[in-house]
Structures are given as structure tokens and as C-alpha cells.
Amino acid sequence: MKTVYCSILGFGAIGQGVAEILLMKKEYLESIGLEVKVVAIVDSKGATVNPEGVDLADCLARKKKSGTVALEKISGVEAIQSVSHELVIETTPTNIQTGGAGLQNMLAAFQTGKDVITSNKGPLTLKYRELMETAKAAGSHFRFEATVGGSMPIINLSNEVLAGNKVKSIKGILNGTCNYILTRMLEERASYNDILAEAMQLGIAETDPTYDVEGIDTACKLVILANAVFGLDATYNDVEVTGITKVTPEALEMAYERGHVIKLIGEVSRERIHVAPRLVPINHPLAVGGTLNVASVDTELAGEITVTGKGAGPIETSSAILSDLIAIYGN
């Protein structure tokens, strides 16, 4: 049995989802020879630390009850530096201006020789090259399947499952909020603003939806794919971005009458990175509805391979973190 000592930095929807999945999958992990012990959990207020492994059920209950797991005033970087472990699971909020706490946490993790698994796009969008080089120099594993398409395997699909195939392009819907809004506008013949309000009420859109509806979130995910799958050195400024705020119910309806839906499509290849609303034939594999995400990987040998799935949600997204964990430490 291999014991993996890890920390969870950020204990919001995803951090808690990871804890729940580790509890749910304890026996399965043991059956493949893995025991995962969480030695530190950090949120914005501080940390709870136990070098032998914290009680996850206890931490989840405490977080729900009092809003924090913190028992000590310890930051993520301090936990990385002072508590002995080998894996950092980084799930703090995305910040694409500075990289936020996530960037500091990841760099500190590599500098102390730790592996990192993350769902946090910010640092990867801003400093992909630097992070990869730091990880490599330290001999650390660095995996981030959860950053693109939530549960949907796309980075690992392109790089590992389809190994040997040159990937020509990846196209798809990488933002569930936009997909929900466009799907519902057509269903209800309702305006963008009305459906945005509905999405906010349901918690599908954030109170400041700019990041999603202007296509910025999709663009960040494309930047990660451009770097991780196509080996480019791309940043956000390399992406041409148009969001969905101008799309009208009338346009959706006219398109539908001619057999098309309008979707916010992200597209990346070696030549260009592009986000814009596009006309998609109703029976096209990318024409999925609701909050679903979908991506089509166009490969040299295998042709087009399309995956679809939930792009968000604590358990769904954490499942990608679990698969990254097993990819590093399994057998």
C-alpha cells in the first residue's frame, strides 16, 4: 500500500468535493493500493493541520457549520513549507490578473518538490511556461485536467489516451453558463437579460457574470489547451474573443428555423485561438444543450473524437482531480 500525503488548498465547492470523493472512494483507492491522507486543509481564514491525516468527515461538518475549517492561522504557502507531504491539491479561486493565491501555492509546492493537481485556471493561463519549468526542475508532477471542461476528460484524452496522434484542432463548448443561457433563450424565446437573471437565481451564473458571458473563461481554457496539448507558449492576449451578450432570441429562432443553434464555440489549433458565437447544425455532435460542455478533438489518425459532460459541479470536477491523482500514484 502506498500512502499519499496531501494538502487541500481552498475548501470551497471543489475542495469539499475532493474531500467527499476521497471518503467515497476510500475502499476503491485501497483496492488499487493507494491510501490518501490529507495532512492540511486551508481556506481563506486559515488551516487545519494533522501530520497523520485530518478527519475529513469532521472537517466537512465543521466547514458547513461554522463556515471555516481553520483552527490555526496558517496560509497555504506556510502549510506547504511546514507540513511534510508530497501532493498539493490546489482549489483556490481563479484570478487571471495576478494568478492569486493559487500561483503562490503552486510555485511554493514545486520549490519544495511537491506534486500539484489543480482545478484553478488562473495561474495556468498567466504563467504556464514558468509553472511547467519550475515543476520540471523540481521533478514534480503537475496535472490540471479539472481546469478545462470540469469532469470531461480532454487534456488527458488528447495527450495520453490518444498518444501518437497529432491533434490538429480542438473545438467545443467549454462554458456551461453560456450554454445554459443560449439554450434557454431559444426554448423560452426570452431575452439575454431575462435568462441571465434566471441563471443567477439558479446559481448557474455568478453575480458578476462578465467572465463567463464575455467569453473570457472559454478563452482561458483554450490558452491552457494551446499550451498543454499544442505545445504553444500562448497567453490570453493571443485569443480573439467575442462573447454572447449581443445574441438575440430572434437570431436564435431564425437560425433554428434553418436547422441551426447558436453556441459559444472555443476553437484552438496551432494557427489560431478563437472564441465566438457560431451556428451549429442541430444534429452536429457539438450541439449539446443545457449546462453541458462538449469538445471535439480532431486528430491526425483517429479523426474526430467528441466528448461531452458536465463542465462544473463539485463532485463532477473533483472526479477529474481523482483521475489525475490515480494517474500519478496508481500502480
Binding site: 449581443k246 445574441v247 438575440t248 430572434e250 437570431a251 447558436i262 476553437e267 457560431r278 451556428l279
Partner: protein
Amino acid sequence: MRVSMDIELKDVPGQMLLALQPLSECKANLITVVHHHQKRTPRKTVPVKLVLEARPESIETIKAKLEENGIRVVRVGEHRFRESINVVLIGHVVHTGIRDTIDEIDRTGYAEVVDLSLSMPGINMLSSALMKIDAVSKEDLQKALTILKEVSTKKNLLMVLPIDIQA
């Protein structure tokens, strides 16, 4: 029917008139003329490409009349629109002159707006248009879209293109 015609003019003044005269005589509608002023054939003539709309039975007459006028007709071919796409435009489509936008495409001769649906829900609200554009070839379609993209940028319209088109 729509035909394209490659002709050669002598490099002296007044030739273009000689070329156009048979067309009007046969009531053909001239759609485009591409005149390669700089180019010369080995015979020192100037190559010109015409696209015209004419009744099928008058094509042969036009050809004969051109040759009577001393104009060499190199090739006559049916000019067919093989490519077709739908494009959505959203914004102040009407205020910014939809006619104008359509003309820009039609003027090319290799592409044409063949269908248009418009929806104007109200003053101060964004209008939406769905255009069907036909073009002679894939390259011509791309060229027409480049024009449409420039017009859209100028008029601040959102252009929604089909997914299989290079945006």
C-alpha cells in the same frame, strides 16, 4: 443563366465598348467585369473576365457577335454557385443600411445574398438578420465573408458564422 466568359481585348482604345455592345444587343445583364490592365497574353492582348446573366439561347449569338467585333472568346462556362452558407448578423442591422451590406457582397460577382430574414423587435433594440449567401467556390465564399466581416466591424454588428467555416 449565369455564365462566365474569358475574352481577350486588343491593347487599343475603344475595345471595351466593342465587347459590351453585343451584350446589350442580346439583353444580357453584365454582372462583373474583371479587367487585367497590367496583364498581357503572349498575343499581347488584355485578358478580361466577364460574368453575365443571359438567356441560354443567346449565349452563342453573343459569342459570335464578339468575334465579329474582333474579340477573342477564350472560354465560356456556366457560372454556378456551388457553395452556400447561412450567416447571422446582430446589431443595428437596418439603421446601418442592410441594402448597403448586401450590395457589397452582390457587387463581387462571385457571391450573392440569395435570402434574407430580418427581425426588428423594437426601436433601440438589437435587430437580427439571417442571410443566405451563395458563392461560386469555397475561396469565393471566404472572400465574401472577409468583406462581410469588414462591413460588420465597421457597423459594429455581431457576425455569427457556421462552425465549419474558418472564422
